[in-house]
Subunit: 339 residues, 2 copies
Amino acid sequence: MAEGQKPTINDVARISGVSKKTVSRVINKSPLLNQATREKVESVIAELGYVPNPQARALALRRNFLIGLIHDNPNAQMVLGVQEGILDTIRDTEFALVVHPVNRYSPTLAEDIRRFIEQQRLYGVMLLPPLSERDDLAELCRDLGCTLVRMGSAKLDDDEHLVASNDRQAVSEAVAWLVELGHTRIGFVAGPEGFRSANEREQGFLDGLAAAGLALDPAIAARGTYRFESGKAAGEKLLSAAEPPTAVFSSNDEMAAGILHAARERGLNVPEDLSIIGFDDTATAAQIWPPLTTVRWPIRTMARTAAAKLIRPASAASEPSFFLSDLIRRASAIPCTKG
Amino acid sequence: MAEGQKPTINDVARISGVSKKTVSRVINKSPLLNQATREKVESVIAELGYVPNPQARALALRRNFLIGLIHDNPNAQMVLGVQEGILDTIRDTEFALVVHPVNRYSPTLAEDIRRFIEQQRLYGVMLLPPLSERDDLAELCRDLGCTLVRMGSAKLDDDEHLVASNDRQAVSEAVAWLVELGHTRIGFVAGPEGFRSANEREQGFLDGLAAAGLALDPAIAARGTYRFESGKAAGEKLLSAAEPPTAVFSSNDEMAAGILHAARERGLNVPEDLSIIGFDDTATAAQIWPPLTTVRWPIRTMARTAAAKLIRPASAASEPSFFLSDLIRRASAIPCTKG
DNA sequence: CGAAGGTATGACACCGGTGTCGCCGGTGAC
DNA sequence: GTCACCGGCGACACCGGTGTCATACCTTCG
């Protein structure tokens, strides 16, 4: 074996005096092997530092070991959490994680995804919200022969390959907390139309109000885009209502930060004059002032499970695919001081 | 060709009535081809939707088309910005991006990286700070036959494969801005010891003070870890000094947010009682109150260049590899009201 | 008109693994 | 003693591409 060249299965076979097929059996832990042979080959492998070539394996097996993560940057924290969760699962396996950020407004989105999957011959792909909500993309992935997992915020009709959080229930619990704090006039900022997560959170909000015998006053409700600026605009609307809310639930943290800015610019104190609850528990949530009460969903754990479902569909099928979120109680929501 | 099977080069060759080698020539845009033949083969390729198998190519060429991104989550925004920048460059090429988050405190860090590179037979790898500052890891990657690019915050001795921002100059300009605003008592929160970026920013801070004829008072200087909590602790130290600062430069935004918390807890108003400047321009920076004046460095652009250097070393060698950062002036730094 | 040279293409081995099948020797049943 | 059976292993083709070299044909030049 020439210096600088990686050892191959042939080198291992020659040096240990067996056929390459036997070496292959050792690598693949075939049970029909003489113990002595196995040990001999293993020692040669260790000595040479031999690592099987994944491309050659992929070629022979007609399948490879690449997992694709397709997303449109819902938020950086979430994407990174997902990546770490996937790595937790595939570390020490032969799988690798290939990422592919896309632009969901691009007219060539579907084509872009198709090219990515076909070109890399992915083993499986994982879709993140809001892409994961599009059934057409899911079908595309399946058509291309990929196993598929979707991360989402609600049960889908076809929940076979879905890992989701129960946003609806989590939000209704957040509202219950505001009610427990004595708030009765609770504002709401929805997420963008057409997003399942936005829809789930809205339903949860309504559930929570209903459970407390309250109703939503449209004067203190607004719809945002999940972005900071839209939260600020929504906050301005709610706070300029004839009878402004004493507490607001925002469908995500970024908009909650915007509401906080709107309140500050009107000279209001948070949380004294306005309690705020957000959703996501982004890094920002704990770093703004006051620290934001928010709903944390177990991104990394969910991603771990999702990856397991991709690479070990049989054994992971029994793992739960529906996750509960926690309300993180911080200083931005306090007892109602009014009335 | 059976249904459900991807077409191979053999299918294309058979149907277009040429040898597979000729098809290979078409794919690889060999110049020695009859125009008519080329067009015939191309039309068959289009008709079949043929896409070359990258694993087979990788095997035959003895090199593959995977770029590895190795990082230890410096911050989510940055990692995602880098991923997007790399994708900007490799989209529409045959390259793919494989990510591998690691833990820099793990005793098996080097082993982990080695396994990743060897197992996937990466073409090239990109190291992010603070990993990129470790020459031993850089050497490891090179030993394993990878081309390498390091992203960093300062010139290294060996800057051949480096893409860096000029933190030192950017910070000195930030200090100049504080001086221009009338501040003369300026506090400093350093990053963790042993980080090149921390060192560069510290030098830049000292440069800025010196240019204004000021000196650093150790009573209003502290060292942090780049984390929020350490910023808060540093803020407490600075603000409890006998003669507290009227402005503070923090070596990153997360610590700046911590300083802000410390100020709030002492009942101080920001920016009226204390101006703050951070570094990084994370998403949080614009969303805290007041919006944070900070240094923005062009992550995505840098990553684009870095990726180009990886996959087209010849043509990208001439591209600049040293980037300037901008001071983003927001509400957290205002004219000094004292004295 | 034949040799030389260039152009367009094909035959074949090879990259580094895996699947199939067959061979060999030992064991137990009859 | 013969034979079926089984554990352990190897020969060989094959996965889907690329490199090397040979070949057929067409010019061009002496």
